[in-house]
């Protein structure tokens, strides 16, 4: 699983450099997210612009990534493709995460 990080003044942007977060890579994603987000800003923006597909394992791994950030830190999601957004909407997880259509919109918002 390839993740890369960019730091802004107020947030850490973690970009997923993969087309899918599915059952085959969900566990790796969760572990890599833990390593990538250890310490750092309270606000983490997960840039999903390259991701075309997630399944329920991938969704579960993103939920796990938010939970392991711990209290006081938040995980926002940016750049959701229509299919990825559909999975969040159907499971009502769009009410749990802040979703932004693009990374620019996510960084322009202060997250609160």
């Amino acid at each position: 699983m390839s993740l890369s990080t960019t730091l802004t003044d107020t947030a850490q942007i973690v970009t997923v450099n993969a087309e899918r977060i599915d059952a085959a890579m969900a566990i790796q994603f969760k572990e890599d997210m833990r390593a990538e987000t250890e310490g750092g800003h309270d606000r983490v923006i997960l840039d999903l612009s390259s991701v075309e597909f997630i399944d329920s394992s991938g969704l579960g791994a993103i939920v796990a990534a938010m939970k392991q950030l711990g209290g006081g830190r938040q995980l926002d999601l940016a750049g959701l493709s229509p299919m990825v957004e559909k999975v969040f909407r159907l499971t009502r997880m769009d009410t749990v995460f802040k979703l932004y259509a693009t990374l620019d919109e996510a960084t322009a918002a202060d997250g609160r």
Binding site: D22, A23, D55, L59, V63, M66, K67, P82, M93, V96
Partner: protein, 145 residues
Amino acid sequence: MVETFACSFQATELSARDGIGSVVSKLRDLGVSEARAGEVQIALAEAVNNVVEHAYAGRTPGDVRIRCNLDNDQLWINIWDAGLPLPDNSLPPGNPADISGPIADLPEGGFGWFLIRELTSDIQYQRTNGSNELSLCFEIELKNR
């Protein structure tokens, strides 16, 4: 017009990914819209993941066979495996996961059957001679027809 096509693959996560990808790309070739093919992909991936993770749990992965029947307004996808039956030999209810609690209590799984039920118009399940047959139906509008 009725189009029938089939594929089979070993029940591993990576082979399943390729098998599902080949079905979805065939559907696009046959005129299923990008959005609808995406929804079929979500449901099919959940159904096949269940076979990989549960039906063949703890045993040598067997085969998954898929046959698709596409006519002018419906797609039926039949999925066979030779693994364990569904619990109680019946389809799980697929209730929505409870996301009302605090973040620390959010579910990290249990979304699969809910997604399958949300995205299909009909589901059938049969256990026959040691095989599972799961049939998923989708309403389809073909492009350019």
